[in-house]
């Protein structure tokens, strides 16, 4: 058999790919038939609930579970290792003791009867206050980088040279801006909390886990439980939100397995809402002080920044690599300080670090435009550079430029833009426009898929991937439907088990690239085998056969064809099974690629007396290579923009500075968007042939990066000065108005 050339059909001959197929599991989800880990109820199952630490920082002195054990219905009490007497607890909500009972109510009552003695320790949660953090000994240097066009002389000290050279560059600059920008920590706020329902089948562990990583979490269980990984099956059909926080079994997942072992019964342990907020992950805060200089045209040539970032108690903060964001000035110095607090540890959050990088630096670029009295559009455009000599470290300048033009048209930039702070007032209302650029990799992850074709024409696939709500099932079915010339309903997609061929975790927007690669490859290989059989029958070379419209046909000769079922019947009694793997490598695959760019623009209205901001319109223009499902791609972008509006205007983790308590760990107090808050959202796909021909690239993350900067810039355009820290709460807006009295 000749080597198979993997490829996608071109735009005109695609029947399924690029279409607007609705989600295959939409009905199951909207009727509640879809079973999430939270919905799995097994016979004889125990329900477990956990006691979380009320203190943000303490040591455990003693734990007394006698009363809890006496509660009717309580079956098992499990003290976690990290909560044994003498151990230090470093954030509020950290689970200490798990109570498993016949009912949830009994488990909760059991938890309420646990008696724990704590020795409170000093608490620090005021990450915004760098001086206080230093005083409390909570800061550490966290990398940094200096890059200058000029090199120091042989005998020159690098740091002194950098000081001098930066000063020289600033002196030379036609325009200099100094600014302060920040973005508070937010949490992942998954609607389905973290957790699992688990049971043992003899020595085999079956875990229904709410996870973004079906193929990779069995190892996590195995390591922790010290059993072979082949004795574990992780299952997950649906995930109610992960956003980067659900890659591991977590200690509560393995604790559930231990309790199940000890009691010989299935156990369900899901975090409570409050615990989900405190433990389920958060996105690091970041605050930046910067001086930047531009030439007379507004091209930023020198950047000198110092930022601090807090990932809570553990984990990395926002690194220097995203400073400034997308733009790549020729000379820069960027220093980073990490602040450690008594908040739960950070986890990857949709496009880790990019939203913060974008929000705290493209605002500074916008302030440069304001300083120069020019349109942000013009300044951003000038700083793009050209494809031959890019001024950006993201997608190609020509892609950004084309997207900017589209976005500007959609938001009516030319007619609506006014110099910062110079717009017409309607009573107390002023409005403004702002924009931002973003970039992301989104190359496919490693993925293996087995395609099975039954002699009766049935097609199914097996792949250890998961659908985190982005539509993976639908995408896989569309790829195979296109490949075999069938309808999506004719394809059965099997995923969500660690027993299936390995596929990567759904993080980094890598899933659509990975699974469309593995499914297309396995599909093309299986089709080639079917075509070989049909070739003999029709007397047409296999290479001349195509799958289309439920038939295998000779290209250009409609009379020579057999129905798909008939072709498959030639398999005899045995189904055909083909497995293919995609491994990302340096060599570009014909099916997928990496790196996208997007442009976003916001139109806001600010009430200068109450400080309230209203979204009028938000435009998101995005490239993503070849689009498999236009509806789902758009839906990813709508979702991302809504999430972005939330963290720009409302969302913030609020900690009590004295006790470290997470004050708004509750859906009614943790402000996400309501529908009435989002205004009009316009999504436009940038898919010219130059981009489509690159193949599939992920887009789950990129569109969530830009809203912070775009909205902050729009507010600055409205008011004429910056509200420095996101979220832009009414109170912060009013403070900024007060601090800039006379300028509004």
């Amino acid at each position: 058999m000749a080597d198979i050339q993997y490829s996608w059909p071109d735009r005109d001959s695609s029947k399924v790919i690029g279409g607007r197929q609705i989600r295959l599991d939409g009905m199951a989800k909207s009727t509640g038939a879809a079973k999430y880990a939270y919905d799995i109820n097994l016979k004889n199952m125990l329900v477990a609930r956990a006691l979380g630490s009320p203190h943000a920082h303490c040591t455990i002195k003693s734990i007394d579970s006698a009363q809890a054990e006496k509660v009717p219905g309580v079956v098992h009490v499990h003290v976690l290792d990290h909560a044994k007497p003498g151990r230090e607890i470093r954030w509020q909500g950290e689970l200490l003791v798990i109570v498993a009972a016949e009912t949830e109510a009994a488990a909760m009552e059991g938890v309420s009867k646990l008696r724990v003695e704590y020795e409170p320790l000093e608490v620090f949660v005021d990450e915004f206050n760098l001086e206080a953090a230093k005083k409390a000994g909570r800061t550490s240097k966290d990398g940094g980088k200096v890059q200058l066009e000029k090199e120091p002389g042989d005998d020159e000290d690098e740091a002194t040279f950098a000081d001098k050279e930066l000063e020289r560059l600033f002196k030379q600059s036609a325009h200099v801006v100094e600014g302060f920008y920040g973005i508070d920590a937010i949490t992942h706020c998954c609607l389905e909390p973290h957790g699992a329902t688990v049971y043992w089948d003899n020595d085999q562990l079956i875990a229904y886990l709410s996870t973004q990583n079906v193929s990779g979490t069995d190892e996590g269980f195995a390591n922790d439980l010290k059993i072979p990984a082949d004795k574990i099956e992780v299952r997950c059909q649906y995930v109610g939100g992960g956003f980067g926080s659900k890659f591991a079994p977590d200690y509560w997942g393995t604790a559930a397995a231990r309790i199940a072992k000890a009691t010989g019964r299935p156990v369900k342990l899901m975090l409570s809402r409050d615990q989900e907020f405190k433990l389920g992950g958060n996105r690091p805060s970041a605050y930046l002080k910067v001086r930047l200089g531009a030439d007379k045209d507004g091209v930023v040539t020198v950047w000198d920044s110092d930022h601090w970032s807090s990932p809570g108690a553990d984990g990395p903060g926002v690194p220097q690599g995203v400073i400034p964001y997308v733009f790549a000035p020729k000379n820069y110095r960027r220093a980073v300080t990490k602040v450690t607090t008594n908040n739960g540890p950070a986890r990857a959050w949709r496009a880790p670090n990019h939203p913060q990088g974008c929000a705290i630096t493209q605002t500074a670029y916008d302030d440069m435009a304001a300083r120069m009295g020019i349109s942000s559009y013009d300044l951003f455009l000038k700083n793009l550079g050209t494809d031959d000599s890019p001024g950006v470290a993201g997608a190609k300048p020509s892609v950004y430029a084309a997207e900017m033009e589209i976005a500007a048209r959609l938001i009516d930039w030319k007619a609506k833009w006014h110099p910062h702070g110079k717009g017409a007032r309607r009573g107390d209302i002023v409005d403004g426009l702002g924009m931002s650029l973003h970039t992301w990799g989104g190359g496919g992850h490693e993925s293996t898929c087995t395609v099975k074709i039954h002699p009766d024409g049935g097609v199914e696939s097996f792949c250890g991937t998961q659908d985190i709500g982005s539509g993976t099932r639908t995408v896989c079915a569309m790829v195979l439907a296109e490949t075999f010339g069938l309808g999506v309903d004719a394809i059965r997609i099997n995923y969500g088990s660690s027993r299936f061929p390995v596929s990567g975790p759904s993080g980094g927007s890598t899933t659509v690239g990975g699974v469309s690669e593995s499914h297309r490859r396995a599909g093309q290989e299986a089709l080639a085998k079917i075509c070989e059989m049909v070739a003999e029958k029709l007397g047409v070379p296999a290479a001349e056969l195509i799958a289309d419209d439920g038939r295998i046909k000779a290209r250009g000769d409609a009379k020579k064809s057999v129905a798909w079922k008939e072709a498959c019947a030639m398999l005899g009694m045995k189904p055909l099974e083909v497995t293919a793997t995609f491994r990302p490598s340096r060599n570009k695959s014909p099916l997928s690629d990496t790196k996208v760019g997007g442009v976003q623009m916001a139109h806001v209205e600010v009430d200068t007396r109450t400080g309230l901001i209203r979204m009028r319109k938000f435009v998101a223009v995005q490239d993503m290579g070849l689009i498999i499902n236009r509806r789902l791609a758009e839906s990813q972008i709508y979702g991302a923009v809504i999430m972005g509006i939330a963290y720009s205007l409302f969302e913030q983790r609020i900690s009590d500075p004295a006790s470290g308590a997470f004050l708004n760990a509750d859906m009614s107090k943790y402000n996400l968007c309501r529908l009435g808050d989002i205004g009009e959202i316009v999504v436009e796909m940038y898919e010219p042939e130059s981009e489509r021909s690159r193949g599939v690239i992920g887009l789950g993350e990129p569109p969530v990066i830009g809203p912070g900067a775009a909205i902050s810039n729009a507010v600055c355009n409205a008011l004429g000065f910056r509200v420095p820290v996101l979220p832009l709460t009414p109170q912060r807006v009013l403070e900024a108005i007060k601090n800039n009295a006379g300028r509004a």
Partner: protein, 298 residues
């Protein structure tokens, strides 16, 4: 949630008997949108929940020569769909349209909103502005309480054990009068008020002078407040921006807000003034019979 009994009496007498049984703690349930949540989190643990929605008196909704009779258990959506109430008691409708969303409005009652006695209850400033009286029945018979004296602290009110709020009564709308309620919330819908202001004004026939006014403030003190001096300084004065600003200042002086994560005290004081101005302006526009350009959320 703890286990409890449920009763649904169909007469007032039955309900009052159930409520005053000494051996068990009882709680009336209207829409349940406050009660059930408070039971879920363990804040309230009544042994018996008495559904009052099946009692005729508590479902009254009519305007007669004496004014508006609003049964304590009437849900918001019914209030919003009565033409006579939309025209004559606009502030009440403004309140009912922003309490929760459609689902909540289908259940939530103003009796429940008032008896829950939250400082930020969105109907209470409107009831105060519209001069409502509470009709209360109990083991000792019935009594009337002006609505501004009903709440005594966060979650506390004048109801004694065994008493039930039956009806809210509001006088007939005076000629050339109008009313309005608005609140400040960080989002545009479904939130707890940071500040809420109810206003009603009566103008003279020319529409240029204020004959009488009532201003009420929510979320800025332990109970919703009747802003008496701010209301009185408006009476007899020609309408002007300066006058309205003066009333706003007087309102600012009586508020005693707390600082919490929804807003600092200073911010609430500031916004009180802004909202008083806006609420008064809208009430005046309505009093003149003009259309009021108001979108909830502002």
């Amino acid at each position: 949630m703890h286990a409890f009994d449920y009763q649904a009496p169909t007469t007032l007498r039955e309900a009052l008997e159930l409520l005053s049984k000494p051996q068990q703690s009882a709680r009336p349930l209207a829409g349940g949108t406050d009660l059930i949540d408070q039971m879920r989190v363990g804040r309230l643990t009544p042994e018996v929940v008495i559904d009052i929605k099946k009692i005729a008196e508590l479902n009254a909704l009519r305007v007669d020569s004496g004014g508006l009779h609003l049964g304590a258990a009437v849900p918001c959506y019914r209030i919003c769909s009565e033409r006579a109430i939309i025209d004559d008691y606009s502030a009440l409708v403004d309140s009912c349209r922003i309490i929760g969303g459609v689902q909540i409005q289908s259940r939530a009652s103003l009796g429940g909103n008032l008896c829950n006695s939250g400082p930020a209850g969105d109907s209470i400033p409107s009831l105060i502005a519209l001069q409502a009286t509470c009709l209360i029945a109990g083991p000792q018979g019935t009594r009337e309480v002006p609505v501004e004296s009903f709440c005594t602290g966060p979650g506390k009110n004048v109801l004694r054990t065994g008493e039930l709020l039956i009806e809210l009564r509001m006088p007939r709308r005076a000629p050339h009068s109008g009313s309005h309620y608005r609140r400040m919330i960080p989002r545009n819908e479904m939130d707890i008020a940071v500040v809420g202001v109810g206003a009603s004004v009566q103008l003279d026939a020319t529409g240029k002078t204020i004959v009488a006014a009532r201003l009420a403030l929510g979320a800025v003190a332990p109970t919703p407040l009747y802003a008496e001096s701010a209301s009185q300084l408006l009476a007899g004065q020609p309408v002007s921006d300066a006058l309205i600003a003066k009333a706003a200042q007087a309102a600012r002086e009586i508020v005693k807000p707390i600082s919490d994560m929804r807003g600092t005290a200073e911010y609430r004081v500031h916004v009180t003034g802004v909202l008083v101005q806006r609420a008064l302006q809208a009430a005046i526009v309505r009093a003149r019979g003009e259309a009021c350009d108001y979108r909830p959320g502002h």
